[in-house]
Symmetry: C2
């Protein structure tokens, strides 16, 4: 059972706390896991949006960063990161085209694409710049991405309009379902191999075959992938614990929250969806978890309230007590915060700005 960090005297709950020792252990473990299988590691920075954490990932051997938006890329380029992958099917509107060209003066860019129309627009936007395109494919999550056998068509449209094509990528998001991790990782490897073959068939080399994700990272298959892009692993969260991928001691970010109201074994905390985020998959036990009270359940979240039910007859935190809440989905929680309170051994050691908070376009 962890010691709840004492809130610094000038802070009012709710606020996010990062245990830097847990964070560093997570960063090293993923780097070692990727290296052991000969996979490049390109962590997804949308999780933390923090320059200090990206530097730690780079020092541990990350090849470059993945980001979700041009806005995130701008923040990390400004901070000196020169190898950035926008893993998203970017539609190069005039405003985005200008931003991409400006970015490419400071960093080597990879940009996602999943349609011939998008490829042509991107090719025009980045002509002559240090940018290569990666074709997004759908490996079973059914979000963006073309079918693997259609990747050649997109790559060819890009190449014929003068763009560099570096390979293919996918996000095996169906691994975010209990029991589907291994299936999703296998789908990912198969789909990337098929897509690479589709590029070969149009005489384009798929040098990069890039996959997800924190749930599937432990079983990502180096026969199908050349790199992986997990994000959540730096912090972990209630979802990762409930999926079975880690335990409470691996959760590096929690929200410090105060018990503001009590009624029997039901308490109200001052951390609601405006701090924890509202993500709640159908299989989750609730709106987050209390690592120091694993049997408690967050039965409802509103903007400034978490309703937490404790086991009847057991101990229940008293009014005014500060407890730790692990959000379901840490990426959402971080994007709601301006800074993270960094602790080591239960004492505050630093504050980190969430530099790319809100950089979602």
């Amino acid at each position: 059972m962890s010691v709840t960090p004492r809130p610094p005297a000038e802070l009012s709950t709710p606020y996010p706390v990062v245990d830097v020792d847990v964070l560093d252990r997570n960063v090293r473990a993923m780097a070692a896991s990727a290296a052991a299988r000969g996979l490049a590691l390109r962590p997804h920075a949308k999780t933390h949006k923090c320059v200090q954490i990206a530097r730690r990932q780079r020092e541990a051997g990350a090849k470059g960063l993945t980001v979700a938006t041009i806005g995130e890329a701008e923040v990390f380029a400004e901070a000196g990161f020169t190898d950035l992958f926008v893993a998203y099917p970017v539609w190069a509107s005039p405003a985005r085209a200008r931003r991409l060209r400006a970015l490419a003066e400071h960093a080597s860019l990879r940009i996602g694409v999943d349609s011939p129309e998008g490829a042509v627009l991107l090719a025009d936007a980045v002509r002559g710049a240090d940018v290569e395109l990666l074709v997004e494919i759908d490996s079973g999550h059914h979000r963006s991405g073309v079918r693997p056998e259609s990747a050649g068509e997109v790559a060819l449209a890009a190449a014929r309009h003068g763009a560099q094509v570096g390979g293919v990528f996918t996000f095996p998001g169906h691994g975010y379902t209990p029991g589907r991790r291994d299936e999703a990782a296998a789908d990912e490897a198969t789909a990337l191999e098929q897509a690479a073959a589709a590029l070969t068939a149009v005489a384009i080399e798929a040098r990069v075959r890039s996959g997800g994700s924190t749930p599937t990272a432990a079983v990502a298959d180096p026969r199908g992938l050349t790199e992986m892009r997990p994000g959540v692993y730096v912090f972990n969260d209630a979802q990762q614990v409930e999926l079975g991928g880690c335990g409470w001691p691996d959760v590096a970010l929690t929200i410090a929250a105060t018990v503001v109201s009590r009624s029997g074994s039901r308490v109200i905390l001052d951390a609601g969806s405006k701090v924890l985020g509202a993500d709640q998959p159908a299989w989750a036990t609730g709106g987050g978890r209390l690592p120091d009270h694993p049997d408690a359940r967050v039965t409802a979240l509103s903007e400034h309230h978490a309703t937490v039910v404790f086991p009847a007859g057991g101990p229940t935190p008293r009014l005014g007590e500060v407890v730790r809440v692990a959000p379901n989905h840490v990426c959402a929680a971080v994007n709601l915060a301006d800074e993270l309170v960094v602790v080591s051994g239960g004492r505050e050691v630093d504050r980190w700005a969430v530099a790319a908070r809100g950089a979602n376009s």
Copy 2:
């Protein structure tokens, strides 16, 4: 069918757009509705977190503002609002006590309380300052708040420690369920009357009997209430439309989003949960709605993707097209944005800072 505002050339989607003409109509209509029933209107500013909108509410006759946190109160006090109600059971930790005392030098404050312990702490924190306490009661939403018959006990604890007690308040949140609006409004009025009687029984006058909410506002009962605190009505959102409280022409805030991927009648927009918020009650049709495509359904949201399914055989937006998305819960969406693009007649006329964005503690 509304005209989708053209994105200003320098903006990339996704971003929030406010139609100021719709907003002003909503502001005036709620003010007129409250005035017609002799109810004071104290709008909840957590919805918009915007100084410009709070000023419009004041000009239309709002008596003061409601906020959810001390942080929001600080922002609006700084902007010159001098009558603020923190409608939340504030636990006056040392840090919060200092902030409350500083705030009380700039504004008349009302603070919520729902326990004798919290009342004693607050009474000590604000002794001698221009602050009165309101006892929160549970009128059926079962979140914070004491039972109406217990309100006297809390009020007495506050009064005995020298605090001013102004009355009672509640949030009839169970009105956010299809078909329960009238029941929730009746519960609200009954509970406020019971709680007022409980205060009378301990010789404390419940001068203020304050209720919610946008869904129940149209039927808030002046026999039970003296004021109401709706928030969402300034913008409305997909939830309010699906609850039947308003129509699409009443929705003032939407997210401008680009079609970035297409597969048959399924499209992917670049507005995900980091822009729309992830709130999705069980009865909602999906993760938001497209006001200009009422038959389309947002079947999934991830951080940067909305999956939208259009009716088979009907028109589907083309790649690169900009569409409008109404978030399910506009309070969450606004808290994710740094500024709002303000339009009138489809043309940009202003930008408003979300001044209290992130001020959630």
